[in-house]
């Protein structure tokens, strides 16, 4: 039998058992049966978990990803959705590059106080205008 029990899936995927149960409850994954109480999973679950990890990293919510599989378990991903997400990330990258450069400047700047540095004040103004505040993604944690 090729079925994996939950501990084995956890070990191989690095995803905690509690998270696997949570994903199942959410409909993101499905077990193929039980041995006693214990869930058994098809080894293909590992690919699926990798895909979920990828989607999460790309900024998709668990709910969004629940719709990205066919009932048979094959990924069904709209290419336009991917392109849109890529564009989102691209905007985030631009924002972060500006932030990083601003921070590096502030770290290197020799003005006695940051408030006396024109560059820093310019960055501050941009921040006040919300230039760095994202609309509502959440690539990170």
């Amino acid at each position: 039998m090729t079925a994996l029990d939950i501990a084995e899936v956890a070990r191989r995927s690095g995803v905690p058992a509690s998270t696997l149960r949570y994903y199942e409850e959410k409909g993101l994954i499905a077990s193929i049966g039980r041995r006693g109480l214990r869930r058994l999973f098809d080894p293909a679950i590992l690919d699926r978990l990798a895909l979920i990890a990828l989607g999460r990293a790309a900024g998709f919510s668990l709910d969004e990803m629940a719709g990205m599989f066919t009932p048979e378990g094959a990924p069904r991903i709209d290419r336009a959705t991917l392109a849109t997400k890529a564009d989102d990330i691209d905007r985030t990258i631009r924002r972060l590059v500006a932030m990083r450069d601003g921070l590096r400047h502030a770290a290197a700047c020799r003005a006695p106080s940051h408030m006396e540095c024109p560059t820093f004040r310019k960055i501050l103004k941009a921040a006040a205008d919300g230039a760095f505040t994202p609309p509502a993604n959440r690539i990170n944690r």
Copy 2:
């Protein structure tokens, strides 16, 4: 009198009054008095709020930023801290660039299923290895 009441600060800064009260409670900002019940703020609060917005965008928590002001209200920012944060952001950027490129590929790839695309599988493996999962920043949101 140059003091601004909370509604005026909210209007000029774009920060909701509820947030201003919350920031005060957290010790991030301070009012200079009251008119009746109403808080009055020094106009310098606007710079401070901009700095807080900048810090948040850079990934500092509110608690971290509470320590970045002198009792007099001047920013007191350790340059090494800034450099460290810049490096953090730089790592995030690299991660995001990889993600973005991966997504663009997946969006453009003509393989019948994503799972049949070698490039996609490579990305998937990287995701499974946690290559895209951040340690615990939180630039976004």
